[in-house]
């Protein structure tokens, strides 16, 4: 659990954080949103224990200092550039690396990394991807991610979102700071808007009170979800726009305008006409965060 009470941070007489109160439960994915310079990184630094708050209390798992099982990925991860990727992983893992070296090498190769490649040869996006990998490779209980997808291409972003989903499923608490609101919509349980040194608003994305839009996610087995298949589904689903979703076999069906009433029944009717095998159907409710953010931060 992460608990902050009246946390303030002052820089040369200016208060960047003026009184943050936050309570994040175990296993929760919390999104932190705010304008540039709002203090998101400062807040994460305080939670990570690498920066001290000027006043207030910050506790992680009832401890004033983050203990083991804690990981933090800064917005622009910096590495020891002269090391190769596997040397860096070995340095971070220490003795844990020796017995499971083959597994780590395999995981790196899966992420399209050549373990012997020098870190300085990596592109910005790949450095970010490596940062996410090393920050999560020890299965920490709490992960802080500061703008983890800012330099990633859409495929990379999708992979990171998948990873956060996996962390969430494994019970990891995640704090995610990003400007890419679509990412938050996909993975977060709750989001907080940081404005003028305070958490201006918090929204529970599971709550129907903020639900403004609703999609359906299906998991299809026995089919390759390629462009051709998506096009075929789009012709069959007259009232929905079908897109590839996160994860293997997942497709997202977005209702077209004009079917606001009884969307679920319309969806189920159209699903019943499909010939492919469907293993699960999930209703995905989300808010349009961009609209919400503009409304909260500009009022």
């Amino acid at each position: 659990m992460i608990f902050l009470e009246d946390v303030k941070k002052e820089f040369k007489g200016n208060y960047v954080l003026k009184g943050i109160n936050l309570n994040i439960k175990d296993g929760e994915v919390y999104g932190l949103v705010g304008r540039n310079g709002a203090g998101k990184t400062t807040l994460l630094n305080i939670i990570a224990g690498i920066s001290k708050c000027s006043s207030g209390t910050c506790k992680v798992n009832n401890e004033l200092k983050p203990a083991a099982g804690f990981s933090y990925l800064p917005d622009l991860p910096s590495f020891y550039d002269y090391l190769s990727i596997d040397e860096y992983v070995e340095f971070l893992l220490g003795t844990d690396y020796v017995g499971e070296k083959a597994d780590y090498i395999k995981a790196l190769e899966k992420l399209n990394f050549k373990p012997s490649a020098k870190i300085k040869s990596l592109s910005r996006g790949n450095r970010q991807k490596l940062g996410i990998y090393v920050a999560t490779m020890k299965n920490p209980g709490i992960v802080l991610l500061d703008e983890p997808t800012s330099a990633l291409d859409p495929v990379g972003r999708r992979e990171v979102m998948e990873l956060i989903k996996e962390l969430k499923d494994g019970g990891t608490t995640v704090i995610l700071s990003t400007h890419i609101l679509a990412d938050l919509e996909v993975v977060c349980d709750r989001i907080g808007f940081l404005n003028e040194g305070y958490i201006a608003n918090e929204f529970d994305l599971k709550s129907s009170a903020v639900e403004t839009e609703c999609d359906y996610e299906m998991n299809i087995t026995g089919e390759e979800i390629n462009d051709e298949f998506i096009e075929k589904l789009n012709t069959q689903f007259k009232n929905f726009t079908v897109k590839k979703g996160f994860g293997v076999g997942n497709v997202v069906c977005k209702p077209k305008a004009g079917i606001d009433k009884n969307v679920q029944q319309t969806f189920l009717d159209e699903v019943s006409k499909l010939s492919c095998s469907i293993s699960s159907i999930k209703k995905v409710s989300f808010v349009n965060l961009e609209e919400l953010m503009v409304e909260v931060l500009t009022k």
Binding site: V16, A48, P74, F79, Y80, Y82, L83, F91, L92
Partner: protein, 268 residues
Amino acid sequence: MSRLSLCMKKDRIEFLRSKKLAVCIVFLAVFMVFVLALTAVIPQLSNIVSSDSEFITTGIATMVEFLKSYFPQLLSDSTGFFSTEIGLFYSILVIAFSFSVLPKEIKSGRLILPICNGYQQKEIFLSKQIVYALFCSIPAGVAYFLYYLIGSTFLVKDCTISFGIIGALATCFNVFSIVCITIALSVIYKHSVLVVITMGLTVAASPDLLFFLPFGRYIPTYILTYLNYAEIDPTYLIIPAIEYAVIILLLDIIVIKRKFAVVVDERR
């Protein structure tokens, strides 16, 4: 492997791959060849440059005598000169290598992931200090001893091999201490430029100033200046060495107790 040895392995790779060791070796080799060559050539100058004019011959002889005082023909004096010059010029090079190495890592946030993975500031600091100090100092000691061996083939040999070994160790220890102090100060001081000023003045200016003080010869930076007399009076070597050790120990205790910042915690 302990975390300290993992850190040292990482720093060793960094020192080697950033070609700092190569620069140290090349610098010392060029410096050694230059001093040895001049020391060998100077006594022959009057024979090489011959002239019928008595005025010119006298002038050359005077110049040769003058240069001989700078490039002495006695092995003990010549190695002493070499080590003193290393103490100045090579020290400036190693200060340049080490004054910003940890501040840069703090500023870039490079320490965040290692700290999150269980490393402590003291391990990161001690590793950097040990690796940089060893890699900078061992080549200096080796260069001194090589200088002694080569010099003994053509200079007036007035000292034993133990003199060469002690001199090499003292040179090595002097550079080791300078690097240790530089790295410790770099995390104690807020601005790296202050480290350069402090250490620059210590190695370049303080020996000349302290020469006039009665206790000047016992100041750490004089460890190489009186190296030649160490065989007669070991205190010339022992007292500065102990002082160096005490200074390093005190600075290290300050760094370890205070714990340096992992990130730069200030906004412009």
